[in-house]
């Protein structure tokens, strides 16, 4: 290995080398001849072998987009790189190189077989993306720590592993450890693991495995929980009422409200606040439930619409297919007839007749398409109207509920103001000084004069209203934008569909016409 590195000049992976390799490994015989005639495009190559080429650096492989199998063994590569574009790669052989770390494999999600035999790797990692990995060869490396094995537990499909020739393979517990921690493994170091061995290993490392499993399960459960929560939130977001199923809005109102928090310590305010919160939360819950219900309704509406549109399109498509099938039969017959016809006048007549048929088919298909377009347009308009109405109703109702929130806030504000002024008066009169709790004393800076306290209460009130308004605005804008997006998308889809179909019809008719023309030409030439 190393003497190569020392003595031989490393080569560069350039176009010529690749072409040569492709040419050599490409099709043979007649096919090869054809291939040479046309030239091979790198994109079409499925497998490539580049061994014993003294390659130092992987390069210029970005064109091989569809490559399934790549062999780069017995080179002097030091770093895995330049493989990012080869996402279809299933088999990668990098054995007998000078690689020191596993890297640059994050895009190769389809990789099933990876060979890194005889390199200088000391740690197994950066393989997270390789979820389909089945065969991993890491023999003759410098892996020295057993804990690397545990990393391999995440590959559920891993069946074959080779680690011989590593420092860890020298350890007496090596085999048992691997068998215990990778129970799905079938072959280790090119040998089948027998069941007896597995059992022994399992018994030996039972405690360790149990503990590990427990940890894994816990983290898995946590992940699941998080995902469920995220999904729920997404769902609520889709209904535009996220976080309204609790006191989140209310809490956020008081989160930045310094004065409000201070005022809450006034006597009687806490009870007031509690009552206010309860009422507020109830309204929020109402909004939330209403939102979910509305979302359900919108979904049903949308589903019905999609279903109907799909049905209409399908039916139209069936009709079109039937027409084409019918035409094709006639087409074949008349082509044969034309082919067999020798009389020139008859020939011309038949050709003319057939072209008429083709035009007719074209007209028919286009009529069908136009009909569908009209039908769909009408339906889409109806749907648009309905969904707009639904959204408008939703917004209206939410707004009225929000208005209730505001009323509550106003009411609360009045009460608070009253209490504050009362308290201020009492303070000014010096009646309550002794009885005031310590907290109020802390906020006593507010109770200087009437303006201050009114201002403070007013600020708090304004802040609250602002929060409510913001939430409402957000909801309304998002709902509206969703609606307009949806309608736009539907229109766009319909237009695209129409374009595609028209193009298809044109293409087909052109093809048929071409066939006829070709026949005619050949006839005339004959």
């Amino acid at each position: 290995m190393n003497w190569l590195y020392d003595s031989v000049e490393p080569r560069v992976m350039d176009e010529d080398m690749l072409k040569l390799a492709v040419g050599e490994q490409g099709p043979r015989d007649e096919a090869g001849q054809l291939a040479r005639q046309e030239g091979i495009v790198f994109k079409d190559v499925l497998s490539l072998r580049l061994d014993f080429q003294n390659i130092l650096r992987i390069d210029s492989l970005w064109q091989f987009e569809n490559l399934r199998k790549l062999q780069l063994d017995n080179n002097i590569i030091e770093k895995i790189e330049g493989l990012e574009r080869l996402v279809h790669l299933v088999w990668l052989d990098l054995s007998f190189n000078n690689i020191e770390a596993i890297e640059g494999l994050d895009t190769l999600v389809n990789l099933e077989d990876l060979s890194l035999f005889n390199n200088r790797i000391s740690k197994i990692d950066s393989l997270d993306a390789l979820v389909k990995l089945q065969v991993l060869s890491l023999g003759n490396n410098e892996i020295s720590h057993m804990m690397n094995i545990i990393y391999l537990r995440r590959f559920k499909d891993l069946r074959t592993l080779s680690l011989s020739g590593n420092p860890i393979a020298e350890e007496e517990d090596y085999k048992m450890f691997i068998c215990a921690y990778l129970p799905d493994l079938v072959y280790l170091d090119f040998r089948r693991i027998d069941d007896h061995m597995k059992e022994l290993a399992e018994i030996k490392h039972q405690y360790g495995i149990d503990e590990l499993k427990q940890r894994e399960n816990l983290s898995q459960a946590q992940l699941d929980d998080e995902r469920a929560q995220r999904e729920e939130l997404e769902e609520h977001k889709a209904a535009f009422v996220e976080r309204l199923n609790g006191s989140f809005l209310f809490d956020s109102m008081y989160a930045e409200d310094v004065e409000g928090n201070k005022l809450a310590h006034l006597p009687g305010v806490s009870e007031l606040l509690q009552a206010y919160k309860d009422k507020f939360v109830i309204i929020c819950l109402n909004i939330f439930e209403y939102g979910l219900k509305q979302q359900e309704m919108r979904k049903v509406e949308l589903d019905t619409f999609n279903e109907c549109v799909q049905e209409a399109i399908q039916e139209n498509r069936e009709q079109g297919k039937r027409r084409i099938a019918k035409f094709e039969e006639a087409h074949l017959l008349s082509l044969n007839a034309i082919r067999d016809e020798s009389e020139v006048t008859n020939l011309e007549m038949k050709v003319a007749e057939h072209s008429k048929d083709i035009t007719e088919l074209f007209d028919m298909l286009m009529t069908l398409e136009m009909q569908l377009v009209e039908q769909l347009e009408e339906t889409i308009n109806t749907f648009e109207r309905n969904i707009m109405d639904l959204v408008a109703l939703f917004i209206e109702n939410v707004q009225s509920l929000m208005a209730q929130c505001r009323d509550l806030e106003n009411h609360h504000h009045e009460k608070l103001l009253e209490i504050s002024i009362n308290t201020l008066e009492k303070i000014l009169k010096g009646e309550l000084d002794e009885n005031l709790p310590y907290d109020v004393r802390a906020v006593s800076t507010l109770f200087v004069d009437k303006d201050t306290i009114v201002n403070a209460v007013g600020t708090s009130h304004d802040l609250h209203l602002l929060k409510i308004d913001n939430r409402e605005d957000e909801l309304v804008t998002r709902t509206n934008s969703w609606c307009s997006h949806l309608v736009d998308a539907i229109h766009k889809d319909e237009i695209m569909r129409n374009r595609r179909r028209v193009k298809e019809i044109h293409q087909y008719v052109d093809h048929v016409q071409n066939e006829l023309d070709n026949l005619e030409c050949s006839e005339i030439i004959d």
Binding site: E30, E38, V41, V309, A312, I313, K321, E378, Y508
Partner: protein, 872 residues
């Protein structure tokens, strides 16, 4: 004046039909409408007059065909209960007599009751006691329909001696079963016994039936097997139009024209219908039987099953002859005189002017039904019946016992022996295992399984005309066939044969319809596709084509059509086998393979072999209406100059829905073509193999038809020869083993006879020699034995002497243990010596005797005896 007019009428009537006379005389309540109008007073003279006339005209009574008359029944072998009456029965008969007297006093215009006919031993027995409720041990006989079918199959019908009177004799069900013959009363008694045993609320009915029913004439009935199941057309639920369903395109045709058109259509249809109806009526007229002169007078007996028990939802009649069930309103039943079960006897007091349609079967109503015995169940009005029923079911016996005390009398137990049907008889079913029923335009023949060697169990022949001369079609049902043939359907009008198979045919055949067994003719074979590796469902053949349908294949092929050309005549001699028809065209269709994109998934592949072209049609994409196509001109690889032809762009014409880069390439096309070439070869091979398979199946079918072997269940211990043989062999082996253990005979001459030259008759000299040799050998053996014993004896003695010597020499130095050892040895040796001595003596005594015995034996040996005799 009125009376006079009636008289005139009467006379005319009398001259025409004796039946009418009977009707007048009989004056029954039970009487259908037709005879009802003759209800008028009559003078004695007239009656006498009529009677005279009657005696002149002979009644056309069908002769009793019965072969089992009293004489043939071995009366003496019957149990005692058959030959005499118990006290209780006597009492019952008295009760019945008094009932009958009262009845005839109260209803003088009704026929006498059918109460106690004579049994086979000429002993009067009450009808209820003739019923013996029995539950059969066969699970098949648990339900009424199978029971009735069994009775109708098992017995052959004998008409009543007098169709207008109940019979004078009523035999026990056991006798009826034994002789497999009976009239309607025998039938219904047997059936009623079985149904009561199975828990049904069944009654024997004595009444009046239509002619067809009484004579078991089914020629006007449509055979139930020919009735096609009416396809229940499921009303398709009308889906309410969805909210966003697209509006249909505007209809621009003229509504007026449409209306006119529909009107015209309707007129034509009406015309057609009228014509059809007329035709039908005409046909019906032809088929309708001439009216029966004895209508309403023919006595019949059948079974009534009342609702309630065994979850019977509604009361119904069973005709025991045909095993058909009828509603109680059916036209065939013209009146009921009385009915009975094993517990009681009821007389119908309701008017039967409208057949049985108005009868109420509430036996607890004493106004409608006059009961004979008080105090059995049903003696309550139906108001309380339901609760009573439940109770009575459970504790019949108890109830009966109780009622005995306070009420007058209860039914004595049946005098009939336990009804038994042997498994053989049950399987054979019909008398002699064969039964023929004539239906309207159809004939049904039934056989017991294994009776016919080809497994035929049922044959239905359908005729075109009423006289049953022109055969329309034949259906034959088979059972236990080794080739799993189940039904053979021969349509005579088209000449089409259809064979249906059960799963398990060696070639997984399901249906085979053909006109001739010749290959390369029209035929359709259907297969159990699950049982076949290639998933073939159906193969249709005509003389020029073969179409195959597949299901569930991994390559998604579901259709293959092969067209053949004319056979090329070959000059070679053995052309018959190795000259397959040339294939002109193979069309293969594939279902969508969801793993491939539609543009690359072939939907149809046509190999035009004679034109050397291959056409491909791909699947249509989900949102497209056109599909990609490709056509390869597959010219031979080498042109006429011997140069290799290189692929050129004009060898492949393709239309692509969405043109793609790589498919344009010659290389790609070349590869595709190479692949197709291989596949063409495979398809041709497949077609050829299919042809071979057809030949093979035809051959197999012919063989099977010829052999028609039957399978026998391994559980059928009686018929399964193999298992029987095996069992017998096992038994034999066991027996032999046993014998061998008892005594192992030794041939003392065998070694000497073996020395003789084989298969030659022994000469006298040889026989002598054999004898001498045998004797001398035996003598030698005896001497040897004596010597042996002697030698052992001497050896033991010597050893003992040596030991003794040794002991005496060393006696002083010996330890106690050694001495003990020596002593024990001495005693053992002495014992052995004694035994040997005894044996020697006995041998000496016995040896001469043994020798003499052998000599004696040899003299008497069958192999040597003749020579010895001469010698002696």
């Amino acid at each position: 004046m009125e009376v006079l007019k009636e008289k005139v009428e009467e006379e005319e009537e009398a001259e025409r039909e004796e039946a009418a006379v009977r009707a007048e005389r009989g004056e029954k309540v039970v009487r259908p409408m037709e005879v009802r109008r003759e209800e008028a007073p009559m003078t004695q003279e007239m009656l006498r007059d009529l009677e005279r006339k009657l005696s002149d005209t002979e009644m056309a009574i069908p002769e009793k065909l019965s072969t089992f008359t009293k004489d043939t029944i071995a009366i003496s072998k019957l149990p005692l209960s058959y030959q005499s009456n118990t006290l209780k029965e006597e009492h019952l008969l008295q009760v019945a007599d008094s009932f009958s007297r009262q009845y005839s006093h109260l209803c003088p215009d009704r026929v006498p009751l059918f109460l106690h006919p004579l049994n086979e031993c000429e002993v009067p027995k009450f009808v209820s006691t003739t019923i013996r409720p029995t539950l059969m041990p066969y699970p098949e006989l648990y339900n009424w329909d199978s029971c009735a079918q069994f009775v109708s199959d098992f017995l052959s019908m004998v008409p009543l001696p007098d169709p207008l009177k109940p019979p004078s004799h009523l035999y026990s069900p056991t006798t009826v079963l034994k002789y497999q013959e009976g009239n309607c009363f025998d039938f219904s008694t047997l059936l009623c016994s079985m149904l009561l045993g199975a828990g049904y609320d069944a009654y024997c009915v004595n009444g009046y039936g239509s002619q067809d029913m009484c004579q078991m004439d089914l020629t006007r009935d449509v055979c139930p097997l020919t009735v096609k199941h009416q396809e229940v057309v499921q009303e398709e639920e009308k889906v309410p139009p969805k909210k966003y369903a697209v509006k249909p395109p505007r209809d621009l045709t003229s509504r007026f024209q449409q209306e006119q058109e529909t009107k015209k259509q309707e007129e034509i249809k009406a015309e057609e219908e009228r014509r059809l109806r007329e035709e039908e009526e005409r046909l019906l007229d032809v088929e309708k039987a001439k009216t029966d002169p004895l209508h309403g007078l023919r006595v019949h007996s059948w079974v009534l099953v009342l609702s309630g028990k065994r979850e019977v939802p509604e009361s119904f009649f069973i005709d025991p002859f045909t095993a058909h069930s009828y509603s109680t309103q059916d036209d065939h039943f013209l009146g009921i005189e009385s009915l009975w079960n094993h517990k009681n006897y009821w007389v119908n007091m309701q008017d039967c002017w409208n057949c049985c349609k108005d009868l109420v079967f509430d036996l607890g109503d004493p106004v409608r039904w006059e009961y004979l015995l008080l105090g059995t169940e049903k003696s309550h009005l139906s108001l309380t019946e339901e609760e009573e029923d439940g109770l009575n079911d459970d504790d019949d016996v108890e109830n009966l016992g109780k009622e005995d005390e306070d009420k007058s009398f209860d039914m004595p137990p049946s005098w009939v022996e336990q009804i038994e049907i042997s498994p053989e008889a049950f399987e054979t079913r019909c008398p002699n295992g064969k039964k023929v029923i004539q239906y309207k335009r159809a004939k049904l023949e039934k056989w017991a399984p294994y009776l016919n060697s080809n497994g035929l169990v049922c044959r239905l022949t359908t005729y075109e005309d009423l006289e049953c001369t022109k055969t329309l079609e034949i259906k034959e049902w088979f059972q236990n066939r080794e080739d799993m043939l189940e039904l053979k359907h021969i349509d005579k009008s088209t000449g089409l044969n259809v064979d249906y198979f059960k799963p398990g045919h060696p070639q997984a055949l399901r249906v085979h319809s053909y006109k001739s067994m010749q290959p390369e003719t029209d035929r359709i074979m259907e297969f159990y596709d699950r049982a076949r590796v290639d998933g073939l469902v159906k193969r249709e053949e005509t003389s020029k084509t073969m179409t195959e349908y597949y299901r569930g294949r991994s390559d998604f092929l579901f259709y293959r059509h092969v067209s053949f050309g004319d056979r090329v005549k070959k000059l070679s001699l053995n052309s018959a086998e190795s000259n397959p028809r040339p294939i002109v065209k193979i069309t293969e269709r594939f279902a969508r393979n969801p793993e491939q994109p539609a543009d690359e998934d072939v939907a149809e592949r046509v190999f035009l072999i004679s034109e050397e072209r291959i056409q491909l049609r791909y699947h249509c994409r989900d949102d497209h209406i056109t599909a990609s196509k490709r056509e390869f001109l597959r010219r031979s690889e080498v042109d006429n100059k011997g140069n290799k032809i290189v692929m050129t762009p004009d060898m492949c014409i393709s239309f692509e829905v969405e043109p793609m880069e790589h498919t344009k390439k010659l290389l790609c096309q070349y590869e595709a073509m190479m692949k197709l070439k291989n596949e063409e070869k495979l398809s041709r091979h497949q077609a050829w193999e299919s042809e071979l398979e057809v030949l093979e199946i035809l051959k197999l079918r012919e063989e099977e038809e010829e052999e028609h072997r039957l399978t026998i269940s391994i559980y059928d211990t009686k018929r399964n020869e193999k298992s029987k043989e095996y069992r017998e062999a096992m038994e034999r082996v066991m027996h032999e083993e046993h014998l061998r253990q008892v005594e192992a005979p030794l041939d003392y001459l065998a070694p000497f006879l073996a020395q003789l030259p084989p298969s030659e008759k022994m000469t006298r000299w040889q026989a002598m020699r054999v004898k001498d040799e045998c004797l001398s050998d035996f003598k030698q053996r005896l001497i040897d034995k004596a010597n042996l014993i002697q030698a052992r004896f001497e050896k033991e003695t010597q050893e003992l002497q040596k030991k003794q010597q040794w002991y005496q020499e060393n006696q002083v130095t010996l330890t106690v243990e050694d001495e003990d050892l020596y002593l024990s040895y001495c005693s053992q040796a002495m014992f052995r010596i004694r035994i040997l001595e005894q044996r020697l003596n006995r041998h000496k005594e016995l040896a001469p005797l043994k020798y003499l015995a052998l000599e004696e034996k040899l003299y008497k040996d069958p192999r040597l005896v003749e020579f010895m005799k001469v010698f002696v």
